[in-house]
């Protein structure tokens, strides 16, 4: 009999709890009942599996055990007996009629419930991580830097609204799908990004990728779902190169590309190619394509910036936001020089966005204006959300500040400016 340890059960929990909770919600029509029962089933697994060995289908074992537990509990209370009788009648109705829509996975239903537009974005993220990711309330709270009681209250309020307002538990119809898919993808992207502050975010990034993968498998016809998965994979492929040994941030241009994860890149690029063939572009697909161009290049100098700029033009047309315009300007600097880019950047209204100041600082540095650059780096560091980013920006600011009085630096930058390219 194979030995089962707690870590292994923990892995099963990560992979299966979302599906189990989702299935139990469908059966009992109640989130709390489902959560409690799945929790109990895993507690039982922790006691039984090390003795009896891993069951052949651990997820199935958890679902069956949790369902039986929930029925036991409900039978004990009068209100529960009512609920059970009612649910059993409804289930019988379901079975007699044709199910609407082709997709039957419970996790997908739950994803759409958690990300219903009637819930706040914070609640959407919290519910998704708690119910689909199986994170504890404390873990969700830590990920979003709020106190645990605050997060607990937020989750309780959201679950209460789902119940009281009868937010449905189903995959939206074809007609509603584009509008309803948007918050689902946004939540997954936010979860991924919440995990990019440092190595402590590993779990969040993995969770976002795992859920994006699950959804893209369940909705193979949705190009933007595939696009999001590809974008997450391409971004994640560079993770090992993103931080120096001392924990400071390493920019794309300075990253050791040997550290990039080629397996993830290959998977991401294959998805991007499939998206291109499908020819139904959207913001996530275009961003994935931009990352695919980076992944193709052996170095920053070998990067096809012309193509990246063309993709940013497309992205800006699809989602005309100031942040996209900023990123487009950064790409434009590589094609037409920092002068042209700075002119565009200075028109953007992003005063409170740290990367706006970081981009300005970099362009000013390249234009041989170290004093202005140092000031912009300082402003960026003030606004930076994570320690690693702040440390990086402060370091850059010091570096450029120390060259402010060296005429040679300014001269070198002048010549760069004249040629419109940067010498590495």
């Amino acid at each position: 009999m194979p030995v089962v340890d707690d870590a292994q059960i923990g892995r099963v929990f990560r992979e299966e709890s979302g599906r189990c909770v989702a299935t139990l919600i469908r059966i009992f029509g109640d989130i709390d009942t489902a959560e409690d029962a799945v929790q109990e089933a895993f507690a039982l697994a922790l006691r039984k599996w090390p003795v009896d060995g891993l069951p052949p289908n651990p997820g199935g074992w958890i679902t069956t055990t949790a369902r039986n537990r929930a029925i036991d509990h409900l039978r004990r209370e009068a209100r529960g007996r009512e609920l059970l009788a009612q649910r059993l009648i409804e289930r019988a109705d379901d079975a007699s009629g044709e199910e609407v829509g082709a997709v039957q996975d419970d996790r997908l239903r739950l994803m759409f419930t958690c990300c219903h537009p009637a819930l706040s974005t914070e609640a959407q993220i919290g519910l998704t991580l708690r119910l689909l990711g199986g994170l504890t309330t404390a873990e969700v709270a830590r990920a979003f830097l709020v106190a645990e009681p605050t997060m607990a209250k937020r989750l309780i309020r959201a679950k209460h609204k789902i119940k009281a307002a009868h937010i449905p538990y189903r995959v939206p119809s074809e007609a509603e799908l584009p509008e309803r898919l948007r918050p689902v993808l946004a939540v997954l992207y936010l979860i991924y990004n919440a995990g990019t502050g440092g190595p402590s975010g590993d779990g969040l990034r993995q969770e976002a990728i795992r859920l994006a993968r699950a959804i893209s498998r369940l909705m193979p016809d949705e190009a933007e779902v595939a696009g999001l998965l590809a974008l997450l994979l391409m971004t994640e492929s560079r993770w090992a190169a993103r931080f120096a040994p001392d924990g400071s941030l390493v920019l794309l241009r300075d990253q050791d590309r040997v550290l990039w994860d080629r397996t993830m890149i290959a998977e991401g690029q294959a998805i991007v190619r499939a998206c291109l063939r499908r020819n139904r572009p959207g913001p996530y697909q275009i961003q994935a394509a931009i990352n695919a161009v980076h992944a193709d290049a052996a170095s920053i100098e070998a990067t096809d910036w012309g193509q990246i700029l063309a993709l940013y033009d497309q992205l800006l047309a699809a989602s005309p936001t100031a942040v996209v315009a900023l990123n487009r300007a950064i790409a434009l600097a590589e094609v037409r020089g920092p002068d042209a880019a700075l002119a565009l950047v200075d028109e953007l209204d992003l005063e409170d966005y740290h990367l706006f100041h970081a981009a300005r600082a970099d362009l000013l540095r390249r234009l041989g204006r170290p004093t202005d650059a140092a000031r912009a780096y300082a402003r960026a560091a003030d606004l930076a959300p994570s320690g690693a980013e702040r440390a990086f920006l402060l370091g850059r600011g010091d570096e450029v500040g120390s060259t402010a009085n060296e005429p040679s630096e300014a001269l070198r930058n002048q010549s760069e400016r004249a040629s419109g390219t940067r010498t590495p």
Binding site: A165, I167, P168
Partner: protein, 120 residues
Amino acid sequence: MPRYLLSVHTVDGEAREPMTDEQMQHSWQEIQALEAEMKSSGAWVFSARLHDADTATVVRVSNGEVVTTDGPFVEAKEHLGGFYIIEAADLDAALGWASKVTRVISAPIEVWPFVDTAGG
């Protein structure tokens, strides 16, 4: 079946473009058509338009006595101007009706679930 209140708020002294008779006629017809649709589909329970907030009166108990004062209860710029009570299978269905109402009357609609009589 769950019930919802679709409430329409009016803003005091809101400078709205005065409607021409023709526009008013058109808007009224649209509202009538929508209410007919609500009724024929079984969603409509009740609907009403209210007079201005300065016609409201508040009654409350103070020191064991009932005191009547000129209303409304909350001094605010926005007041309940009218409402629909509908029955819908779930929030999505209710939001569907609310979308139709807001298009017709060009004002935001607040969708409130009723507490189920079963205690939900």
